[in-house]
């Protein structure tokens, strides 16, 4: 079995069912000089939050793989100029209207990128791993961004919430 097949088998038996269940898919199209090239389709929010885990998984299961690169419709660079302007406006809203409020919870929202209208953000500090982070994103950040930046296509939270160490609200058993 070559490296592509081994990497694909690893994804198939680990994260792929979760990715598909969340409206996306990912496949290994090549392994070049230790880097696995992964094609991402469907919802970017289904794959990108798992990016670091996918890299860890592939590294653990296929030691020849030392890095991953995501390509595909949602990983291509934005058209010159337009994405940057959108990113600037999103960043302005985050800095002026969202982060000052979220700072009260020890949190911060960082713009990761804008890609074809999709805004990807990362939550940090008290927001990372907070049991109500999704409420803040969907009921707070997304409506505000949609109001201020109407051309935004969608908002994806790409935070690795499992790595949060100081969540404002932590989950309990029931």
């Amino acid at each position: 079995m070559d490296l592509v097949d081994r990497a694909m088998a690893t994804l198939r038996r680990s994260v792929l069912p979760s990715v598909i269940a969340r409206g996306g898919t990912v496949r290994v199209i090549a392994v070049e000089e230790g880097t696995a090239i992964l094609e991402v389709r469907g919802s970017p929010g289904a794959v990108l939050p798992l990016a670091s885990r996918i890299q860890e998984l592939l590294g653990a299961a296929v030691p020849e793989i030392t890095g991953v690169q995501f390509v595909g419709p949602h990983a291509e660079p934005p058209p010159a100029g337009r994405g940057e302007r959108l990113a600037d406006r999103v960043r302005d809203v985050l800095d002026a209207e969202i982060n000052p409020v979220i700072a009260a919870h020890g949190g911060r929202v960082t713009l990761v990128e804008v890609d074809q209208g999709w805004v990807r953000i990362r939550l940090e500090g008290g927001c990372q791993g907070c049991s109500l982070a999704e409420v803040t994103v969907r009921q707070g950040i997304e409506p505000l961004l949609r109001a201020r930046v109407p051309e935004m296509v969608g908002l994806a939270d790409v935070t690795d919430h499992a790595a949060g160490t100081t969540p404002f609200f932590s989950a309990e058993k029931r």
Binding site: T10, R13, S14, V15, P17, S18, I20, A21, R22, G23, R53, E56, L57, G59, A60, A61, I98, V101, I102, A104, H105, G107, G129, S131, L132, A133, E134, V135, T136, R138, Q139, G140, I141, P143, L144, A162, G164, T165, T166, P167, F169, S170, A171, E172, K173, R174
Partner: protein, 406 residues
């Protein structure tokens, strides 16, 4: 577009999954929460489940018309019933939801309805040690002493003799004190039921149960504490046994007055008789807790939370769970202390069949094992061609994790 009022407690594993589900169903969502959220002034209605009347009034004043009210987790169940009643929406009655949240009331109602359950005694808070020992002897040893208001095996201990029952009672009283429960809360003393454990999840529509999942618990705990660790679905039990278990769960829900929405029932197949009679341990008026629902895959990628929301909206729900065996292992806290690190997560996640690993307790938090503890370290998920593959994957992955607590 249908509009749903989601009541989201500040501390829950399930907010994300319900919001994602609402998004997939294209629902307009209004959120009520006791979490002091940033950005919440316009978009989240502040509620306090401990102040029912004021919270109901605030929700009525601010939520606007909604088609359904859904509690995302246990602390919001009674408030959801209360506000739905005031809005005139189809929902369980408040009294039924309260009954389901109290293990002593459950036992009394089930006894009256003839639902199979362990022999039990309810001990008032001022009962003497002598009365406790007598009650334990009456139900027979080994017995289980339980707090009536806590869930997830918190405040539950097995005792093998009178002295053990007294010690268990004292320890559970301490747990209740730390949990901030009223000092006058009774304790439940019941017979220990040996045998294979099942959990039944389903959705009620006018009292009729539509089953969403039956989990086997292959590592059924025998005490002294009762960690829920391994759940695997679909069940391997014979059809007649499962049919009897479903009937028991449906009758148990009916005896509590539950007629709508999700239920999560826990039963044991009593090994003390040859019939392995399904015996009701507990039932909650909600779907399965923690992140366990993520182990389930329904046709077309539908999630359990989507089914719960659809059911709340009065839509016909036909759950087609994919037949491939799947499981979840809840990682119990084994030592008290401050969580320093969880090593080996990549190695655990790389085990064949593992489909997910989520460490949900943040590093730096103080953790306690049962019976004091109220959370898991995290969740491992697996799928496989057989139940054995699923169990092996979960056990192997767990062995690869090294939890550092100091």
């Amino acid at each position: 577009m249908a509009r749903v009022l989601l009541l989201v407690p500040a501390r829950t594993y399930r907010a994300t999954d319900f919001l994602v589900a609402a998004g997939r169903l294209g629902l307009d969502v209004v959120v009520g929460s006791d979490g002091a959220l940033p950005l919440d002034r316009r978009l989240v209605i502040r509620v306090d489940p401990g102040d029912l009347e004021a919270s109901v009034d605030r929700l009525l004043a601010r939520s606007g018309p909604v088609d359904a009210v859904v509690a995302v987790d246990t602390p919001m169940l009674v408030l959801a019933a209360a506000v739905a009643a005031r809005m005139g929406l189809t929902h369980n009655r408040v009294e039924a939801v309260r009954a389901a949240a109290d293990k002593a009331t459950q036992r009394r109602r089930w006894a009256a309805a003839g639902v199979a359950q362990p022999a039990f005694r309810i001990l008032p808070a001022d009962a003497s040690i002598g009365a406790l020992k007598k009650a334990a002897a009456q139900v027979g040893f080994p017995c289980v002493v339980k707090a009536v208001s806590l869930s997830g095996s918190q405040g539950v201990l097995r005792a093998d003799d009178k002295r053990g029952a007294a010690a268990a009672s004292a320890r559970i009283r301490q747990v209740l004190g730390v949990a901030g429960r009223p000092a006058d809360e009774p304790l439940l003393v019941e017979a220990y039921v040996p045998g294979w454990e099942l959990s039944v999840d389903g959705l009620l529509t006018d009292g009729d149960l539509t089953v969403t999942t039956i989990f086997d618990k292959p590592d059924t705990p025998e005490g002294p504490t009762f960690e829920e660790t391994l759940l695997v679905t679909p069940s391997r039990m014979a059809k007649p046994i499962l049919s009897e278990a479903l009937r028991a769960a449906e009758r148990a829900a009916g005896a509590l007055g539950l007629r709508y929405g999700p239920i999560h029932a826990e039963l044991r197949l009593d090994a003390r008789n040859h019939r392995r009679q399904p015996t009701m341990l507990e039932l909650a008026a909600r779907s399965i807790g923690g992140l366990c629902s993520r182990a389930l895959s329904f046709l077309d990628g539908v999630s359990l939370e989507q089914l719960v929301l659809a059911n709340a909206l009065g839509r016909q729900v036909t759950p087609h769970r994919l037949a491939r065996p799947a499981g979840v292992l809840m990682l119990p806290v084994e030592r008290a202390g401050v969580l320093q690190a969880v090593h080996g997560t990549a190695q655990a996640a790389a085990v064949a069949g593992i489909t997910g690993l989520s460490i949900t307790t943040p590093v730096g938090q103080t953790v306690h094992p049962l019976p004091e503890g109220d959370r898991y370290l995290g969740f491992l998920f697996a799928e496989g061609a057989t139940h054995q593959e699923v169990e092996e994957a979960l056990h192997t992955a767990r062995r690869r994790l090294r939890v550092i607590t100091r």
